[in-house]
Symmetry: C4
Subunit: 196 residues, 4 copies
């Protein structure tokens, strides 16, 4: 089964999620700078979520390049990931409109945790299909970055109950970890090409 339509559909859903989030930034009624001020938290929340969804698209893109085939299980694992990502605009909007209050920040973190777990399940389903000796399995390796991310999210969610800015700070840390481009795939794929 080809991976083309899976990529196309995921691209479509991610493109829409990333774009409709901006609809949470309601046009204010006033026309001075002061009327923009209350939108600042919503804007920051949008910015963070935009970065997260861009990271997911980037990682998905890299992951799919090493994928050779998909089956029913991977289609559903992918849908599961898209489901949690589809909740990001809601969680993001709620967090922004409440000035990064405790519960919304914790819920936002929970959605990120669920998306991270869903991504992990997707990689496992793909490794199961391609075998443990595949380029894909080697490129993913022990997936330290993924595991560390979930740990930081969980610490972030816990500390949110001390002060929500802790949560936001730690979510930002995870984003920074991933913003550094993931060169595992590029290296392995290039290595694999050279061997051939």
């Amino acid at each position: 089964m080809g991976k083309g339509r899976l990529e196309a559909f995921s691209d479509g859903v991610l493109a829409i999620i990333i774009t409709i989030m901006v609809l949470e930034m309601k046009v204010p009624h006033g026309h001075d700078l002061a009327s923009l001020a209350p939108l600042l938290p919503v804007f920051l929340s949008y910015l963070l979520s935009f970065i997260y969804l861009a990271i997911y698209w980037n990682n998905h893109h890299h992951l799919m390049q090493a994928v050779k085939k998909v089956n029913g299980a991977t289609l559903w694992a992918n849908m599961h990931l898209l489901f949690w990502l589809s909740l990001v605009p809601f969680a993001s909007g709620w967090m922004g409109e409440n000035d990064f209050a405790t519960i919304p920040v914790a819920i936002y973190g929970s959605v990120l945790v669920m998306a991270a777990i869903a991504y992990f399940i997707l990689t496992q389903a793909l490794i199961g299909l391609h075998g443990k000796d595949s380029t894909l399995a080697e490129a993913l390796g022990a997936d330290r970055k993924g595991k560390i991310s979930v740990a930081i999210y969980l610490v972030g969610i816990s500390l949110t109950f001390l002060h929500p800015y802790w949560g936001c700070a730690l979510y930002l840390v995870v984003a920074c970890i991933w913003l550094v481009p993931d060169q595992r795939f590029e290296k392995r794929l290039n290595a694999a090409k050279k061997e051939v």
Copy 2:
């Protein structure tokens, strides 16, 4: 006539339908867990509809893999299917916002019935184009799953007037039937490849 743009357009429409549904989950005004509580039925309704649309995308994907060509009739049969699916967000939002009341649950089921019938018409149009001896026709076979689904939907809609939870339960049963991956196409396509 190539099937590529038909797939691309359907992917686009399905990706948008599945994503704009989340807009029905309006960001609540409060910032505690209690303010999320009223959203629970909307969330459950969204979850059910997400699963349904994912199933349709999966089936459409499998179906199109066995398709070799399309004509005007199949384009319109496909549009007809997309029309009913485009009503899912509305029906889903109405059902969720009314705590799964009788009429909204029945209407939701009716939209599912119409989509199932539209999918059936699409398969018939494709079989008509490819011939009754084609891999496509063999893979679809008597389409027992499709027929049973419509029967369960209709029972579900009827029982909804006893209690709406009956309807929801039976719609869930149909979803479970389809969540089990449909291996007819994979088997037939693999068999067809081996014969060649």
Copy 3:
């Protein structure tokens, strides 16, 4: 210059236009059938617009199959068409929410006229690029259907000032003319293939 991305972008825009229209159907507050009643004109308006956009997608799909190349002028002619089609959800929502009142029906017809003219400009730009002896030019021929459509639209807009149902009836007539699949392209393309 390849036509692939032009098709992909147009598919994306058309898929979104056709789908966001359903957002004009606001979820009603009541949960009985009576609360659906006021939505009937909005639904009918949505149905008509869905059919129109499906027709445009179909025609665009057929047209592009005969196209071998695109240039800057055709990209802009295509954008011009998409602009007018992007106004359909607005015009459709306004018409539906006002129970097919005179001015909204006339405006809706005007948007259809502008879209039809934009489509005509697009075909002329493509013929200019491919030459008057091309398969494309032959397949389009005198484009009687397109010219008749504009004439009927204009009569429809005029009669709307007698009674708006006249306008709706004539818009429906044009839709029916186009629902009959346009076999000019299929015939010509098949003929062209046979000659080769």
Copy 4:
């Protein structure tokens, strides 16, 4: 790394941005022409933004045709561009709903400036990857058009504080500069093909 998915994702995001902007044009309550009048500035704002996004899509399309490969840096440079373009619907809606008042017009111009800078960064990232002797670098040349645009935007934003129509007029001037098709790429690519 292939450029296909980058193009597909960008097409998706641009198609959605250009289309959801029309949602800012809220259906009016009245059904006479007078009720459309207050929408005129929103419509004009939409028209300007539609043209801008169409220009970006066109330029992106031309740019990508000369691109042979992408890497992590270009993916992020592209995301950065999409981020600023995703703010156009918000800025456009705010400008339209406030009848082109000073601050909204200045903010709109600022978003255009940021998008222009992001586009410049993207071209530099691509030139860095392809080398200064590549067809891409030659086609872009000194990028006078890009630099002049930013200068005009900045003058426009400044003059907005005299009168907002100055800003609008100058934004329109930039749009006109770009509406003239950019033949650098077509010429260079054709030249490059002939040399081969």
